[in-house]
């Protein structure tokens, strides 16, 4: 299924990546984590939908991450290069999810 999406009026474009949580070719000390935080407004199925759209995750993987967000208050939803992490945080903000990034390790 094609999950490419562009919100009208926004410069943000979703790019498709393989279904992995860790981008290749990045040294471990240069890894950045993208975090999504729980909030009382965003519906659980919406969070799953957004994770599928942005990261190209399967329904099962996206649901697992959504539940982790809901139960633990936050979840690392992706790790990789800083530039890509920034793009993902921007996209998550466009979908109105609470998200930020931190250096891994």
């Amino acid at each position: 299924m094609d999950w490419k999406f562009r919100m009208e009026g926004s410069d943000v474009e979703v790019v498709e990546i393989p279904e992995v949580g860790l981008a290749g070719d990045v040294e471990l000390d240069q890894l950045w984590n993208v975090l999504v935080f729980d909030d009382p407004v965003n519906l659980m199925s919406y969070v799953t939908l957004v994770l599928r759209r942005i990261f190209g995750y399967s329904e099962e993987r996206a649901t697992q991450l959504m539940l982790e967000v809901h139960q633990s208050g936050k979840s690392v939803v992706w790790s990789g290069a800083r530039e890509r992490a920034e793009l993902y945080v921007q996209q998550l903000h466009t979908y109105q999810l609470q998200a930020s990034m931190e250096k891994a390790g």
């Binding site: 009208e8 009026g9 909030d39 407004v41 519906l43 199925s45 919406y46 466009t94 109105q96 930020s100």
Partner: protein, 166 residues
């Protein structure tokens, strides 16, 4: 009010009474963050990294305007659909009908979400309707904000389940 998918990703709200239409017309004003610092921070985070000031400055300059544009656009789409409302009268009561195309559905979801996020920050609304009702005995401004927010959540749930195919 009844919500119904009309095929091809389009949907409509029918048999709406005046109060329900009034609540829908409040989406735009309710999504307005002006004057509320917490709501502004929630909708327009100033950085990708918590506590990193320089990053925050760049983010505010480069990313926030794009968010503002996208969110404003969603509200404008919703207001346009609401302006095209159809009215009918039956037994002395006015009923409203609003049609939404498939292309506008994401904007509706976004606008409803913006309004709910701002209302939650302004009034400290809990996550669940049950929790809210159990702690709220007085019908005041906060109670009305809660009722408004939970109506919007019902529409969002309908959109996710019956229109957006989640």
């Amino acid at each position: 009010m009844q919500l119904q998918a009309t095929g091809g990703g389009a949907w409509e709200m029918v048999e709406m009474r005046e109060m329900e239409f009034h609540l829908l017309s409040s989406i735009g004003p309710s999504a307005n963050v002006s004057g509320d610092e917490r709501a502004t921070r929630r909708l327009f985070p100033t950085g990708a990294i918590s506590g990193e000031e320089r990053e925050g400055d760049d983010w505010k300059e480069l990313v926030v305007p794009d968010l503002e544009r996208a969110f404003r656009n969603a509200i404008e789409v919703v207001n346009g659909d609401l302006a095209a409302v159809e009215q009918s009268e039956r037994e002395g009561e006015v009923f409203f009908r609003v049609k939404v195309s498939a292309e506008h559905t994401e904007h509706w979801y976004s606008a409803l979400n913006q309004a709910r996020l701002v209302l939650a920050e302004k009034f400290g609304l809990p996550a669940s309707e049950e929790e809210f009702l159990s702690e709220s005995a007085v019908v005041d401004e906060r109670w009305l904000a809660g009722a408004q927010s939970y109506l919007y959540a019902v529409i969002q749930t309908f959109l996710l389940e019956s229109v957006m195919g989640v």
